[in-house]
Symmetry: C2
Subunit: 495 residues, 2 copies
């Protein structure tokens, strides 16, 4: 294979490789059925990271040009219209033509990075997921709550629930938000399958193909995927220590006339930034002045390290312009699959109708169980305990960063949340580091997944919340060693 890669080009390396391979496949230089080199081999041949090579294959696979065969490698796919034998896991079966029209939903590379980061092979110390330590959770409360809902609240607990959610849970959420300063009716709360579903429903209601959506750079990859899936054009706004910059937001609102603004003002994912009250007021006013709905992802507010947190953006909003999203995945348990969105008027009606279309309604049983847990008061004790423990783990991680990572490494230090955002020194490749780290039994989230254009970025997100202190120390020692070694290699530095 002949390649001319331009390392300094605007076009990321994995796309250059994809394009080079595509030309050769389409020209017949690489005929159908030909076995391609492994991503490891290709990476070695081209002097790129294995993630870069594998990302190129992922893009080609999504286009139907190559296909992996289990345990055997990657092959050039037969053309769809061909009458030749198309490889398939089903003996003798071919894929119908319409399969060829199904492309990837968004970035195949982001998708791959997220899966790769999240690999949970036995023995891997994972810093990849922004999640709490569920081993701290008082599971006896959960078991009791579920048993009680089954025994004492059947048949409703076993049946379909109203699409908008279990009424007592919605009332609890409304009361919880009122305590945080948000003015709302119980009816304004719609229960969703986590914050992710709330974002997806909003993307489906608001975004038409080509509409612009303002997001922070970096931001939560699940939101990027939802907006990409609605075929939005993403407009990135940079952050400072307080999160989304108001001047840049003003520019974007002026210049891009977006359909929606999406922001994470509290314990920003991935940077951990907390927006101050003045900035909150400014951002809310800007969006209102431009008549653009402002989606506030308030995914976690209960786990914090002492400093007081300003009220949600929704509390600064007198115009009904802020759409508040919340979640119980990070503060309690991901496997509840419960979150919410607060909306009024036609938007509320449309979201409820769309929730019914999406999945009828969330589990009547889990909603009742969650409500019982929340009412018991045990969750407040849990939040206190988790906050103390996560704070300690954050400190341990910061100490480990200081001790093990090379000079020039920078990181955020949030007042809460679950993750640190780490900038590696110039010359290091985080995508390459992820390859090496996985081989050494450590995983983390590569920075590239958090940007609209998932090129190799000098950032990594490290979750401190879910690992015991000794594992944090051990994992960061490994990462630091690999990073130093990478920086010491002349090839890496020049790339």
């Amino acid at each position: 294979m002949v390649f001319t890669l331009e390392p300094g080009s605007e076009v990321p390396l994995y796309l250059q490789i994809r394009d080079g391979l595509r030309v050769q496949i389409e020209a017949g230089a690489l005929p159908a059925g030909q076995r391609l080199p492994s991503s490891r081999q290709l990476a070695r041949d081209l002097g790129v990271s294995r993630v870069t090579a594998a990302s190129a294959y992922a893009e080609l696979e999504a286009e139907g040009l190559v296909e992996p065969r289990l345990g055997s490698g990657t092959y050039v796919a037969a053309p769809w219209a061909s009458s030749g034998p198309r490889a398939s896991r089903l003996a003798g079966a071919r894929l119908p033509r319409w399969q060829a029209a199904i492309g990837p939903a968004g970035s195949a590379t982001r998708s791959r990075m997220m899966r790769e980061s999240a690999r949970s092979d036995a023995g891997v110390v994972t810093f990849a997921w922004a999640r709490g330590d569920v081993t701290l959770f008082p599971t006896v409360e959960l078991r009791r709550a579920i048993a009680d809902a089954i025994e004492n609240d059947a048949p409703p607990s076993l049946q379909y629930e109203q699409s908008e959610g279990y009424r007592p849970l919605r009332s609890w959420i409304a009361a919880h938000l009122r305590l945080a300063g948000v003015e709302l009716d119980d009816d304004d709360v719609i229960v969703t399958a986590g914050a992710q579903q709330a974002i997806d429903l909003l993307a489906r209601v608001f975004v038409r193909p080509g509409d612009r959506v303002v997001v922070e750079a970096p931001t939560y990859p699940g939101a990027l995927e939802a907006f990409e899936s609605a075929r939005a054009e993403l407009v990135e706004v940079p952050l400072d220590g307080e999160g989304m910059r108001a001047d840049a937001l003003a520019d974007a609102l002026e210049r891009e006339r977006p359909r929606l603004v999406y922001t994470i003002p509290t314990f920003h994912n991935p940077t951990g930034a907390v927006m101050g009250a003045a900035r909150r007021r400014e951002v809310v006013a800007l969006a209102e002045r431009h008549g653009v709905p402002l989606v506030e992802d308030d995914y976690l507010r209960e786990v914090r390290f002492g400093s007081p947190i300003p009220p949600p953006l929704a509390a600064f909003d007198a115009a009904g312009n802020v759409i508040l999203i919340g979640s119980f995945s990070k503060s309690l348990l991901p496997s509840l699959r419960l979150g919410y969105v607060v909306a009024r008027g036609p938007l509320r009606e449309r979201l409820i109708a769309l929730k019914r279309v999406a999945d009828v309604g969330s589990s009547a049983l889990l909603q009742r169980a969650l409500h019982r847990c929340l009412e018991s008061g045990a969750m407040h004790a849990y939040w206190k305990r988790a906050s103390r423990l996560y704070r300690r783990r954050q400190q341990v991680m910061v100490q480990a960063l200081r001790r093990h990572f090379p000079a020039g490494t920078r990181w955020s230090a949030a007042q809460g949340g679950l993750v640190l955002w780490v900038r590696v020194p110039a010359g290091a490749s985080v995508d390459a580091l992820l390859d090496e780290a996985l081989a050494a039994g450590v995983s983390f989230a590569a920075g590239s997944a958090f940007f609209a254009r998932p090129a190799d970025q000098p950032f990594m997100r490290l979750s401190f919340a879910a690992q015991p202190e000794a594992e944090i120390e051990r994992g960061l020692a490994i990462l630091g060693r690999l990073l130093r070694a990478q920086l010491a290699r002349p090839t890496a530095r020049s790339a």
Copy 2:
């Protein structure tokens, strides 16, 4: 208010009323803030059913032209651009302008009919939902399975699950389908939040605005809503005793070049029809010949009344053209929110990516609990018991129909499933009957919800599975009495 209603027109009455009111509101004859007559009063004034009047209001509300105020009635809404005080449940809050651009997702009337039918006020005997009798379910198995998953399979049971689903559950489903004659790999199974989410994900992948989708008339309203939400044009194909007619399908494929065909070949919802093996082969071949993917909603196969059921359409499909959907909501418990879709190739990858966008993944805990229940063997005993009991209830309902309903009433008699589809004699209005039935403490699903164009239809769907025999007898006596009374009134007959 002055109205000229044309009862014999192509345009349904509720749309005529909507249009009449809209003209008066837009002309200023009905000024902002004016209180409108109650739907009961409007129905009386115009000589239409209350459901018809309320449907007209629902359409206007969805357009933002009128607004209900809790406990006070329906009012003409202030124009969005107006600076006047817009009524809202939040004191002093106005709705921002972008709210005006949010219309209904599909038919506001279908949406309303579904909610109305499903009213579960205390004391209402409901025949409205196609659901099993969850009081028969061995809840001790469920409790044990959940407790075991929490105690012996944490942390994974408390965490996020892979988007494609819990591997052992997918393997169980694949084995279950192999027994039914379907050839597939374990990896082809993707776990979804019930059949509804599977349909919605498929609509999102396949349907672009204006694309045609072939559905049966009547069919499952949740599928109609999903396709409408993707802005499909629905093409209805009529049924006979074996479900979707092959000749009509052939015509539709030829004439309309649809993007997708959606069918329910087993215990068709709402008619209960079961497609024979020859028809299955024919339908599969037709779709394949036209290169149109065939979505098979196999929502319930385990509850049957003795006669053998042919294998799923997917078992007749050698071309990979059938996309099989299944569910545990009807066969086990709705509150599990678990179902599945079987897909290969690029479609499989796209569906997994879209499932991640939609809700990350279904509950790790409920997937593990369901898998434990299925493995225990207790579910097979439950299916046997439920089948026996539902069969008996179906017989009781048929006897009650014979005894209480007027001559000229017709109904299906399915070999399984949960519902009967009843055709009322000419001259009766089912929408009006629903009003009266609700007032008398009985609910059912009005036929209009099951058609692409939800006009008053002479059909009602009665669920026999979830009510004890005495309630079936009592409820049908009331329905029969109301129907006879309606037919005896000269006004009703002439409408």
